[in-house]
Symmetry: C2
Subunit: 126 residues, 2 copies
DNA sequence: GCTAGTGTATTAGTAGAGCAATACACTAAA
DNA sequence: TTTAGTGTATTGCTCTACTAATACACTAGC
């Protein structure tokens, strides 16, 4: 079960998005299985329904889940693929930022790749 | 001369920081040369002096410039090195974000590197 | 000392994000 | 057709980031 960090600077709705993505990827909710309803989850996490709704809407917008009227939210069949595609997009954004920095310093691609590798080595993998 | 985009979501003070870093790196202002005074620049960019001051303070904090009381702001002798170091830190942050995404998807370093390379290929170099 | 130039501090206004309270509208199932 | 469950819309509060107006304090140079 996902848990919310009240004191985190990361907004609650974003924590829910992240948590749901992770749980779907981990197989906690398989394709076409039903997610907890907005009200259920709001109650469980002690949060306003609108906050859950916002998270679910974003997940719907990115194609990870879909709604059946009156019945609730369900995991998209291809949602694992979608999530991976989405993740790739997010990564691409960051790489874009990195390249913007690199450009303003006059670095070319191979220099950026070197920096990337050397920083990557220092990262924890957990 | 730097120019400000009023309608950008990027705060003005941040645009000034970025612009200044770029101009220093480009050699518009060499080591120990004097930057436009806070009031001058505020007038030129049609912005409040405090906004310029904030940008200059951050540049000072990261060691790119220094102040002489009553005389203005000057470029640090080693500021090019400092800026490169700073840029590297910024890049590292983004790489950290990328790794956070990767972790939640269960990707290891080599997979991340592959994605990075393939995205890098698609980036414009300008 | 005076003056014109520096950077700095105080205070306040504006806009936006985030979240909750509450009421609404729809649908499945009995 | 009623009921209990869905998601949705409206509204307002709070907090924070950003910016500006204005007044202050210091310093070089005459």
């Amino acid at each position: 079960m996902m848990n919310i960090n009240e004191s985190s600077p990361v907004p609650i709705y974003q924590q829910i998005i992240d948590g749901m993505r992770r749980e779907i990827l981990a197989g906690v909710f398989g394709p076409d299985s039903r997610l907890p309803s907005i009200r259920e989850l709001a109650l469980a996490l002690k949060v306003n329904p609108n906050t859950i709704a916002r998270a679910y809407q974003e997940l719907e917008a990115e194609g990870a889940i879909y709604f059946k009227r009156g019945q609730g939210a369900f995991v998209t069949a291809k949602s694992t693929d979608d999530l991976l595609r989405q993740a790739r997009l997010e990564m691409a954004k960051h790489i874009g930022e990195i390249m913007a920095i690199a450009r303003s310093m006059g670095l070319d691609r191979s220099q950026v790749r070197k920096i990337f590798d050397s920083v990557l080595e220092q990262q924890e993998v957990k």
